[in-house]
């Protein structure tokens, strides 16, 4: 029996653009930056002034009464994005489907803001710690609340691999659906990094830009933190067609690797190995890839290393690939990053609009690929990759396929 093909039939996003996938894509597609002066922490708390906050997110819109108090912001994001994705898929989880559905979420920091607040209250103000601290802080809170709300009782868990968390989560869920372990999966990631303690930790690491995120530009000077959630509903392509579901595209392959090199410095060999593994898993030829949604953080080291890795994998074909970093507009949402970028990649393939690398100023010889500077591009692309490379040297790459082009080729 050949492996099942896996379709994405629902997408939900909470981001700096708003609380829906539609708002997200209409900003990302045209390269409109959602990076703004920070509002969630006191002004002047940290050296860097800008971020991509989900500043308009209002929990009271989504959670009744005391319900909101049980969820840290990162888990609220996860639930809201999952609601949108599941509603879009048209699926309902009854006693038949509930046990046949998985949830795999990614989060780098979990409920860190809850921890920050409660530990401050304890250490600085000699106050008691809330009994809700542990259930709010735990990294699997988002996955558990989604499970509870929808009656999804199959495999439910969370992976935490820093900035690769969402790609690892989506990849695991993809494999479970492809291999028939489950019939549906809800997968993605969420993070909410805006507490003073966590921001000070990023400041100390000296990787956050004092201005904005300019991936691949010669004068790039760091990442911009973002937040939010992305959730996808995955199911077998045949099942999706049989029920006439809206199909955003296919997840066709997943590859992962570890640099085994340094706790913060990336290594091109590791990134290349993960891209090759994703292509092999998808059964895709490198020459078929037309778009890469890059990890593209905007740090001097990441972007040049990523370009070196892309050249190593694709050789001369690298010149023909459109490579953009949408972090230039939605920021680096850490454990949600891969999920936001999966949403962007699927929408790009389906709509034939490649989102640009925004805020681009001048080319860097160390990043001499077509990075789609500042203006989106129309392109009919069948295969795409989305890269996530985490601190700790953990790399996770998803391969996507545009279904209608795949079908045309088969005919």
């Amino acid at each position: 029996m050949s492996a099942r093909r896996v379709a994405v039939t629902g997408i939900g996003v909470v981001s700096a653009f708003g609380d829906t996938f539609g708002e997200f894509w209409s900003g990302v597609a045209w390269g409109q930056s959602a990076i703004r002066p920070m509002t969630l922490t006191p002004p002047g708390s940290v050296r860097f002034p800008n971020a991509a906050e989900a500043a308009r997110f209002d929990p009271a819109k989504y959670f009744d009464g005391k319900h909101a108090d049980f969820l840290d912001r990162f888990a609220q994001f996860a639930v809201v994005a999952a609601r949108e994705a599941i509603a879009a898929s048209g699926l309902t989880f009854d006693s038949q489907l509930g046990p046949r559905c998985a949830i795999v979420t990614g989060s780098s920091a979990g409920g860190q803001a809850t921890k920050d607040e409660n530990f401050y209250n304890l250490y600085a103000l000699n106050q008691r710690v809330s009994p809700l601290t542990i259930p709010r802080v735990m990294g699997n809170a988002g996955a558990s609340w989604i499970s509870y709300e929808f009656g999804i009782t199959g495999p439910v868990y969370t992976v935490s691999t820093a900035c690769s968390s969402a790609n690892h989560a989506i990849g695991q869920a993809f494999w479970m659906v492809r291999d028939g372990v489950v019939d549906v999966a809800v997968a993605g990631g969420s993070d909410a990094p805006f507490s003073v303690g966590f921001l000070k930790s990023w400041e100390a690491l000296r990787v956050v830009s004092p201005t904005t995120c300019r991936p691949f530009s010669r004068d790039r000077n760091g990442l911009i933190l973002g937040e939010g959630a992305g959730m996808l509903v995955l199911e077998p392509l045949e099942a999706a067609r049989a029920r006439s579901a809206q199909i955003w595209g296919e997840i066709a392959g997943f590859g992962m690797s570890s640099d085994a090199h340094h706790i913060t410095q990336p290594r091109a060999q590791g990134a290349a190995q993960a891209m090759r593994a994703a292509l092999a898993d998808a059964g895709a030829a490198p020459q078929g890839v037309g778009y890469i949604n890059a990890h593209g953080t905007g740090t001097p080291t990441n972007d040049s290393t990523e370009c070196e890795a892309i050249r190593a994998v694709f050789g001369a074909h690298a010149e023909k690939i459109l490579v953009s970093s949408t972090k230039s507009v939605h920021g680096h949402a850490l454990g949600a990053a891969g999920a936001l970028e999966a949403a962007a990649t699927l929408a790009a393939l389906r709509g034939g609009i490649i989102p640009p690398t925004a805020n681009f100023t001048e080319p860097d010889p160390a990043c001499d690929l077509d990075v789609v500077p500042n203006h989106s591009r129309c392109a009919e692309v069948e295969w795409a990759l989305s890269n996530s490379f985490a601190f700790g040297g953990l790399n996770a790459v998803l391969a996507f396929r545009r279904s209608d082009l795949a079908e045309a080729a088969e005919r």
Binding site: R47, R206, N221, H262, I263, T264, Q265, P300
Partner: protein, 87 residues
Amino acid sequence: MQPSPEPEFAERVCELIARTQKIPAESVTLDKTFADLNIDSLDGINLLFAVEEEFKIDIPDDAASRIRSVRDVVEGIQKLLAAKAGS
């Protein structure tokens, strides 16, 4: 050209580098680069954090990214201390 740093001041910085990097004090001299001392980018950031604590200064990110040697550290601190005294 910058004047040569005061020997006592340079020694204090070298000791701090040796202490944070857990390497013999005699191995840290003004002519050594970070690469010579096996100080990578994360070590360097950690070292500058200790320097900021010790000398009560703030090293801006762009200056931090240019510091690659023991001499850079010593001269950078002197410059920041002078600016602080002058302000």
